[in-house]
């Protein structure tokens, strides 16, 4: 799974972004070999692909994608936010570093070893003060929190990527999103995930893509605004057919 020394992949961060490096808080994160994953929607590009050396070939957000989270979160500092799908906490760390008040939902929190690892990593980042954890799945837990009164201004959807989960996530998130809200998606390269974005677009949200390795996207309404992003000019990312026509 680990790459060999001759690998030419590199880190890229959109040059307009404020930068942060949380690597020391994730001691099990490695630059991996994306060919070790058999997920059909993983793109193999010039950027480094990170994973957890204990957890098998499941990728993290890459450096550029994590910075989309971080820089978006900075705009929402102090505001309520939700993350669906945390895995080992890499994305949560970048969101929390932006100073948001974060609810995280992931069924993996039901595994004590995973939970301990995530809590430990986030504790090391020093940004774990305003995080609440929920072991469970979307849309059920989102709906429960929403019924209890939670309304989120920033939401990151990176949960179950298989039909029909992404649309289910989008539906429940829209229901409990604040009037001014922004929803980020990871892995738009997967057609089922893209349907979640299409749902929000068809409900009147503004949408845009971020041309990263796995392709991210933002949907927003009201006064919320997405961060700008400059794609790596050296990466020749093709636009998949299912995303054609999206801005």
């Amino acid at each position: 799974m680990e790459i060999n020394q001759s690998d030419t992949r590199y880190d890229y961060i959109s040059p307009n972004f404020r930068q942060i490096y949380l690597d020391d808080s994730f001691p099990n994160m490695i630059a991996g070999d994306p060919t070790s994953s058999n997920w059909p929607h993983l793109r193999h590009g010039p950027h480094k692909w990170y994973c957890d050396k204990r957890a098998g070939p499941v990728g993290f957000l890459n450096r550029d994608e994590a910075h989309i989270l971080y820089n978006t979160a900075l705009q929402f500092a102090g505001k309520p936010a939700l993350e669906i799908g945390c895995f080992m906490g890499w994305s949560a760390g970048h969101l929390a570093a932006g100073g948001i008040d974060l609810d995280i939902i992931d069924p993996l929190f039901g595994d004590p070893a995973v939970k301990e690892s995530v809590l430990s990593s986030l504790s090391r980042t020093g940004f774990s003060g305003k995080i609440r954890w929920y072991a469970g799945t979307s849309p059920d837990v989102v709906d429960r929190l929403g019924r209890q009164g939670s309304r989120w201004e920033l939401i990151f959807i990176d949960g179950n990527h298989d039909f029909p989960a992404p649309v289910q996530d989008a539906v429940v998130c829209e229901r409990y999103a604040a009037t001014d809200a922004l929803i980020l998606f990871h892995d738009m390269n997967a057609p089922a995930v893209a349907e979640g974005l299409y749902y929000l677009r068809d409900r009147g949200w503004n949408v845009r893509l971020y041309h990263t390795a796995q392709i991210m996207a933002a949907a927003w309404r009201g006064a919320a605004l997405p961060v700008d992003h400059i794609p790596d000019p050296k990466a020749n990312w093709p636009i998949p057919e299912h995303l054609r026509g999206l801005p």
Partner: protein
């Protein structure tokens, strides 16, 4: 709640529509809670048919140009493609009930059931799932094999293998009668999924597939019992002594809504050959 019952057909099928509308009008809803309109999507009606509707205060929608159409499909199939567009075609209502023209409301509780469920804002859609033995396509092995294998092939062709893997063993909902609030998330997904189906060779079930894929995506549905959408060509109801219609397998169960499906199909009985519709008429299920 401002509620709109919507039907659609061409001139040739209008006899069914008129009979259906009479059963809607026969059982008024509680005016304290519901302000009910009936609207009709005109797919080439004749002047006297339009006059019949107008005399009854039924709202007409005639602009078909704003609706999609299946590839190589006859014009009457606007009655399929119009369904996801009801909130756009007929704005200013709080909720809609789509009613196939071969639906007959047999008892007041039929329409009331759908209207009542619409009061819950958390419900995305109310429809009957084709689960019970009255839906013979599930109760009979040979019919079930044909019905579901064709459904799986259609879904694979339009939505791909991931979707079909998810729902190939799943029993669909019938789209001939359903109710949804104007603000329900179902409409946007139903439109998008129907759009995906427009470019494959036409099949009359593509629209129902689109609704079912959308329901899986959106969740939050209410499953109506089959007595609220009884497919009569699958299983004829029987008439009880009190003149109500009953499930022949469970005669204690009243049938509230009859769906006079496959009306033009031929049936053979000891009395000879006829159509389902003639059978329905002779039994008294329709006028």
């Amino acid at each position: 709640m401002r509620l709109c019952c919507v039907l659609a057909c061409d001139a040739a099928f209008f006899y069914q529509a008129a009979a259906s509308i009479e059963t809607i009008r026969r059982f008024p809803l509680d005016p304290e809670r519901f302000e009910l309109d009936i609207a009709f999507i005109d797919i080439g009606l004749r002047a006297e048919q339009i006059a019949w509707l107008t005399e009854r205060g039924i709202r007409l929608h005639t602009n078909l140009g704003e609706l999609p159409r299946f590839n190589d499909a006859p014009e009457y199939t606007y009655a399929l493609t119009c369904r996801p567009y009801l909130p756009r075609l007929l704005p200013d209502y709080d909720a809609y009930i789509w009613i196939d023209c071969d639906i007959r409301f047999l008892l007041p509780a039929g329409l009331q059931y759908y209207a009542q469920q619409l009061l819950d804002s958390a419900v995305s859609i109310i429809a009957a799932q084709e689960t019970e033995p009255s839906y013979r396509m599930n109760a009979d092995a040979r019919t079930a094999q044909a019905y579901h294998s064709q459904r799986v092939r259609r879904i694979a062709k339009v939505y791909g293998t991931e979707v079909v893997q998810y729902c190939q063993y799943y029993t669909p909902f019938n789209s001939g009668l359903f109710a949804a609030r104007a603000d329900s998330p179902i409409w946007t997904r139903y439109r998008r999924n129907l759009q995906k189906a427009l470019h494959v060779p036409f099949n009359g079930m593509l629209q129902q597939d689109a609704l079912n894929v959308s329901m899986l995506e959106v969740g939050g549905w209410v499953r109506a019992p089959s007595v609220m959408n009884w497919l009569c060509s699958q299983c004829l109801p029987i008439k009880a002594e009190d003149a109500t219609w009953r499930d022949p397998h469970e005669p204690g169960r009243r049938v509230f809504v009859a769906h006079l499906t496959d009306s033009t199909a031929a049936v053979t009985s000891p009395q000879g050959r006829s159509t389902f519709y003639e059978t329905y008429r002779s039994l008294g299920l329709t006028g």
